[in-house]
C-alpha cells in the first residue's frame, strides 16, 4: 500500500481504504499494526453418525485448535489438501457455521456468535467468494439484483444500491450496459466469478475470504481473475485470506502462507520462507509434488506414498507421522506445537533475504517487513527446543 494515492484511487471506497490507510502510510512501522483478524484455538469437530440409532460414532476433527492472524492489507494464503480443514476454517471465520471453541477478534473487538447485531457488522466488513461460481449465484435473479441484495439488507435504498451495482460491474471489468440484466447461466465461468467478487465487494468489506475462488476456472481465465484481485486489493486497500490447493497460485498471491494438514496448522510464515526454507516435512512433500513444468526434468520419485489419512479420528501425536519419513517415537506420542523455527530467531522473513519478493511494486516495499517474520512450524524435529535438529531436507 503506497499510502494516500491509493486511497484516492479507491474513489467510492474511501472508507475501506482508510481502514488500511494508517498502516499503509506508516510503512516501516507496519509490523506494529494490530491484526485485522485474529483467531485463537478455533475448533470444529463434526459428528459422524451411524448405526440404527443414529448415534455419533466418530468425529471428524475438521479444524482443531487453529491459531492465525491476518494483518491489515496483507494476503494470507492457506494451502492444504482436501480434508485438511481449509474450507471449514473459511466458514468458521465468516461465522457461517458455529465453532465448537475459539476466539475470533476482528479489528480489536471480540466477535460473539450470539450477538446478532455485532455479527452483522462483522459480516459486512468481512466477505467471502466461493469456489463454485455457479452455485454461488441465485439462478433466478438477474445478477444486478444479486449484487444489490447485500446493500439493501443493510438499509441502502434500491436506487443507491443499483447505482452501486453499476459501479461494481465496472470495477470488476464487466460492462454494466451489457450485463446487469443477465442471468447467471448467460455468463461464462470467469464472468460469473467476477460477479461474485462484485457481490462480495458490495458491502465495502475490509477483508475478503477467497475460498478456492479461482480453482474452478480455466487457466486462461484464472490469470484474468488473479490480476483483477490484485488490482482491487491495491486500489481498495483490501486484506485477503486466500485459500487454495494450488501452490503456484498461493505463492503468487500471498504475503504469508499457512499450511494445514488434517485440521492442524503445520507451518506458517512469510511466503519466501515457506517456499524456499520450508521446515515441515509435509510442506516439503507438498512443494515437491508440484509438477516440474519442464519436460527435461520431470519428477522422478513421488515425495509421499499413499493417500492422506481419513480425517475421521486422525492419528494421535503428530498427524503427519503416518506418512513422514522422519517420524520418531515422540511423533507418535506427542502432538507438536507451533514454535519458531530453529536458528531463525524471529526474523527469518526480514533480513535481506526477502529480496525476491521485496522491491516489487505490488507490495510497495511494505508487505515484506509487515510480516514480522514469524516463521513457525509444528514439528518435533524442526522447531526450537525440540532437541532433535535434523537438517532441513
Amino acid at each position: 500500500m503506497s499510502g494516500g494515492a491509493d486511497t484516492r484511487a479507491g474513489g467510492t471506497r474511501s472508507e475501506g481504504a482508510q481502514g488500511a490507510g494508517p498502516q499503509g502510510g506508516g510503512a516501516r512501522s507496519g509490523s506494529a499494526a494490530p491484526p485485522l483478524l485474529e483467531v485463537r484455538d478455533l475448533r470444529k469437530h463434526f459428528p459422524v453418525r451411524g448405526g440404527i440409532l443414529n448415534r455419533t460414532v466418530a468425529w471428524v476433527k475438521a479444524v482443531d485448535d487453529v491459531d492465525l492472524h491476518v494483518r491489515p492489507g496483507e494476503v494470507l494464503g492457506i494451502v492444504g489438501e482436501s480434508g485438511c480443514g481449509k474450507s471449514t476454517t473459511a466458514r468458521l471465520l465468516m461465522h457461517l457455521i458455529r465453532a465448537d471453541a475459539g476466539r475470533v477478534t476482528f479489528d480489536g473487538a471480540l466477535v460473539q456468535a450470539d450477538d446478532a447485531a455485532g455479527l452483522r457488522e462483522v459480516r459486512r466488513q468481512m466477505q467471502m467468494v466461493f469456489q463454485d461460481s455457479y452455485s454461488s449465484l441465485n439462478p433466478r435473479l438477474p445478477i444486478e439484483e444479486t449484487i444489490m441484495f447485500g446493500p439493501k439488507v443493510h438499509g441502502v435504498s434500491a436506487g443507491a444500491a443499483r447505482e452501486r451495482a453499476r459501479e461494481l460491474f465496472t470495477l470488476v471489468g464487466l460492462d454494466p450496459a451489457q450485463f446487469i440484466r443477465r442471468y447467471p447461466h448467460e455468463l461464462s465461468g470467469g464472468q460469473r466469478q467476477r460477479v461474485n467478487i462484485a457481490r462480495a465487494l458490495a458491502l465495502e468489506p475490509r477483508l475478503l475470504i477467497l475460498d478456492e475462488a479461482v480453482s474452478a476456472l480455466d487457466k486462461s481465465v484464472e490469470a484474468q481473475v488473479l490480476n483483477l484481485l490484485l488490482a482491487l486489493r491495491r486500489e481498495l486497500g483490501l486484506t485477503y485470506v486466500f485459500i487454495s490447493h494450488d501452490l503456484n497460485v498461493v505463492q503468487y498471491m500471498s504475503d504469508r502462507v499457512l499450511v494445514m494438514y488434517l485440521g492442524k496448522v503445520v507451518e506458517i510464515g512469510p511466503t519466501a520462507d515457506i517456499y524456499e526454507r520450508m521446515q515441515h516435512p509435509y510442506t516439503e512433500a507438498l512443494l515437491s509434488a508440484m509438477p516440474s513444468m519442464d519436460p527435461d526434468r520431470r519428477t522422478e520419485r513421488p515425495p509421499l506414498t499413499g493417500d492422506p489419512p481419513n480425517p475421521i479420528n486422525p492419528p494421535p501425536g503428530c498427524r503427519f507421522h503416518t506418512r513422514c519419513r522422519f517420524a520418531d517415537d515422540v511423533c507418535r506420542r506427542a502432538e507438536p506445537r507451533l514454535a519458531p523455527v530453529q536458528g531463525a530467531g524471529g526474523g527469518t522473513g526480514g533480513d535481506g533475504r526477502g529480496g525476491r519478493d521485496g522491491g516489487n511494486d505490488r507490495n510497495g516495499g511494505n508487505g515484506r517487513n509487515d510480516t514480522g517474520g514469524s516463521h513457525l512450524v509444528a514439528c518435533h524435529m524442526r522447531a526450537v527446543g525440540s532437541g532433535h535438529g535434523l537438517a532441513p531436507g
Partner: protein, 329 residues
C-alpha cells in the same frame, strides 16, 4: 496428427483418426463439440490432449471408442485402431475391443466399478471374459495387477468393495482393471484431476512407469499443462473443438507457435511471477453452440486479422509440429 508418415517410422500407426467430427443436438441448441480432428498415434507413444473445459478434448477421446450418447450425438469421419475401422464395427466387436486392445480410465473411478461387486471380482471377471483363462489363474493375475499398481496389502484389497477404498486407491484399482487384459492403447480422461497434489504425482509416475514397462500407447486428456508435461511425448492443444497445435512436448513448451498455446503457457501461474502482472488471455472460451466459421480463437487473439475469418490452415512447421494459424504460414 496431420502428417501420417512421419520421419523414419516404418511401423503403421496404432490409431489413425481422420476428420473426426462430433455434434450434439438437444432441443435448444446444437453443440459442435469436435470439428474435423485428425491425428495418428504410434504404438508406445503418449499423446496428451490439452484443452480447457468445453474444448472438446474428452469428447474426442470418447469418440475414439464410440462412447457417446447414441441418439443425441452425431459422429462422422474415420477412426482406425490397430488397422480396424471403429465406426464400421458392430456393438459386439466394439465391446470386445474395449476390453482387450483398449483400456480406459476416468476422472471418477466409481463409474468404472460396479458398487455391488468386490474390486477383485470385477478384475477377475474381466480377465476370464476376455481371455478365457480359468478363475484361479485370473485371480492370480488380478493379485499381480494390484501389486503392480502398488496397492498395499493387495490380497485384502481384492476382497474390498469400491467404496471402501480411498480416492487414490480407487484410481489405482481402476488402472489395474484397465490393464487387466494387457491393452496396447490406454485412454485416460483426466484421471488425476480430482486427486490431491501429493496423490496426483504418484498416479502420474505410476502411469508413466506402467506405460514404459508394457509398451502401451496412451491418449491422456487433461486441462493441466503441468500434468501434460509430466507424462506426454507429444501434446495436442485443443481449442473450440480443433487441434490448434500439435508437437513434441519439448517443442510445445519451449517454442509454442499458436497464440492460444502461448497464452495458455503464460497465463499458467508460477510462483516466480510474483509481483508481476500475469499475461492473461482476455475474454471467455467460445460458445460451442455458435462457433465462428473461421478461427475460434480469433475473438480473443491479439493478433487477429481479417484472414482469421476463414478456417485457418494447418501449417506443418516440421514433420511433427503442426500449427493451425494463418500467421504461421
Amino acid at each position: 496428427m496431420h502428417n501420417p508418415a512421419h520421419a523414419g517410422t516404418a511401423r503403421s500407426p496404432l490409431v489413425r483418426a481422420e476428420d473426426v467430427t462430433v455434434r450434439f443436438e438437444s432441443r435448444d441448441a446444437t453443440v459442435q463439440a469436435v470439428n474435423s480432428v485428425s491425428f495418428t498415434l504410434d504404438p508406445g507413444e503418449v499423446l496428451c490432449i490439452l484443452g480447457e473445459s468445453g474444448s472438446g478434448k474428452s469428447v474426442t477421446l470418447r469418440a475414439l471408442m464410440r462412447l457417446l450418447p447414441p441418439r443425441r450425438s452425431f459422429l462422422t469421419g474415420r477412426i482406425e485402431i490397430g488397422g480396424r475401422d471403429v465406426l464400421a464395427m458392430s456393438e459386439r466387436a466394439l465391446a470386445d475391443l474395449r476390453g482387450t486392445e483398449v483400456g480406459m480410465i476416468f476422472q471418477e473411478p466409481m463409474v468404472a466399478f460396479d458398487p455391488v461387486y468386490s474390486v477383485g471380482r470385477q478384475i477377475t471377471e474381466t480377465i476370464v471374459r476376455h481371455e478365457g483363462v480359468g478363475r484361479p489363474e485370473a485371480t492370480r493375475r488380478a493379485l499381480d495387477l494390484l501389486e503392480r499398481v502398488r496397492i498395499p496389502s493387495p490380497a485384502r484389497r481384492l476382497r474390498a468393495y469400491p467404496h471402501e477404498l480411498s480416492g487414490g486407491m480407487r484410481q489405482r484399482a481402476m488402472i489395474a482393471l484397465a490393464l487387466s487384459c494387457r491393452p496396447s492403447l490406454l485412454l485416460a480422461d483426466e484421471p488425476t484431476t480430482a486427486l490431491d497434489a501429493t496423490v496426483q504425482i504418484q498416479i502420474l509416475l505410476l502411469l508413466r512407469e506402467l506405460q514404459r514397462e508394457l509398451g502401451m500407447a496412451v491418449i491422456f486428456v487433461t486441462h493441466d499443462v503441468g500434468v501434460a508435461v509430466e507424462i506426454a511425448d507429444r501434446i495436442a492443444v485443443m481449442y473450440g473443438g480443433r487441434f490448434v497445435e500439435t508437437g513434441p512436448v519439448g517443442q510445445i513448451m519451449r517454442d509454442p507457435r499458436h497464440p492460444y498455446t502461448r497464452g495458455l503457457l503464460t497465463s499458467t501461474v508460477h510462483g516466480s511471477l510474483r509481483g508481476t502482472l500475469l499475461e492473461a488471455i482476455p475474454g471467455s472460451p467460445p460458445d460451442m453452440t455458435r462457433l465462428p466459421p473461421g478461427c475460434a480463437f480469433a475473438p480473443r487473439c491479439r493478433y487477429a486479422e481479417p484472414r482469421c475469418e476463414a478456417p485457418p490452415p494447418a501449417v506443418d512447421l516440421s514433420p511433427r509440429h503442426m500449427v493451425r494459424c494463418v500467421r504461421a504460414a
